[in-house]
Symmetry: C2
Subunit: 125 residues, 2 copies
DNA sequence: AAATTAAGATTACATTTGTAATCAAAAGCG
DNA sequence: CGCTTTTGATTACAAATGTAATCTTAATTT
């Protein structure tokens, strides 16, 4: 699959949240949240279709777009390549950075603890 | 500061590990590890200097390059923007992905536990 | 000293990306 | 039924990126 650019990801994120969506909905969302021009959003939708990241079905004259790739899979693959590139493959230092900046919320901590518990149980079993 | 591209980051990573380095050392490292052509590496070094990510001092006819930006700072900023773009700002789901794929090492877990302990202590104090 | 080599500087070039504008066709309005 | 608006398709275009090749100058080799 072709790479998905940052601008394209903005579009994809909207659609992952509320698929299926008409172009106008995506336009509206990105216009308000990021001041993105309608034409720009249309271009990005087109590119995502070409990259087979989005599919659509006609709803009258307009299209309804839906994702063709799974968000979790995408997130995982991107995370791996990011951690590989930036942290030489080590996850903990990434989290440590957030911790140092005090950007971990109680929810984050709770989730991390749960993860660790699961992991340890997995190990002992 | 201008953005640093992926290819450029490969160069920067080498230099962060062993600064200062001559171009030939970087070339050698990247040629073997990524099959990157000498000319390509030279171009990247140049671009990094132009972007003020690298500085250098002459050592005879050649240059010795050293980083002008701090790796930790870079990592933190990139992490934040990555997590923002891909995970809507939440760190835990990223770690969860690694956990599910069983890509957390005992060291990762140990570090994460230490982070959490620190965080909790910070909170109670 | 002439020829070869090595280092950095400059130039090249296709592709991707961000950001739109223009075009064509269909749908709705007056 | 023409005119306007809307929607997707096509075209545009500069900047960034990956990947080198060429040029210039200084050093090294023979």
């Amino acid at each position: 699959m072709k790479e998905i650019s940052n601008a394209e990801l903005s579009v994809l994120n909207i659609i992952w949240q509320n698929a299926p969506l008409g172009a106008s909905d995506v336009v509206e969302a990105l216009a308000s949240s990021q001041g993105m021009h309608e034409k720009t959003v249309k271009t990005l939708l087109n590119r995502l279709v070409k990259k087979q990241a989005l599919g659509y079905e006609k709803e009258g004259r307009a299209y309804l777009y839906y994702p063709l790739i799974d968000q979790s899979e995408y997130q995982l693959k991107e995370s791996q390549s990011f951690v590989e590139r930036v942290f030489a493959g080590k996850v903990a230092p990434l989290v440590a950075g957030f911790a140092k900046q005090k950007q971990l919320s109680p929810e984050d901590i709770a989730e991390l603890k749960a993860l660790i518990d699961d992991w340890e149980e997995e190990q002992s079993s």
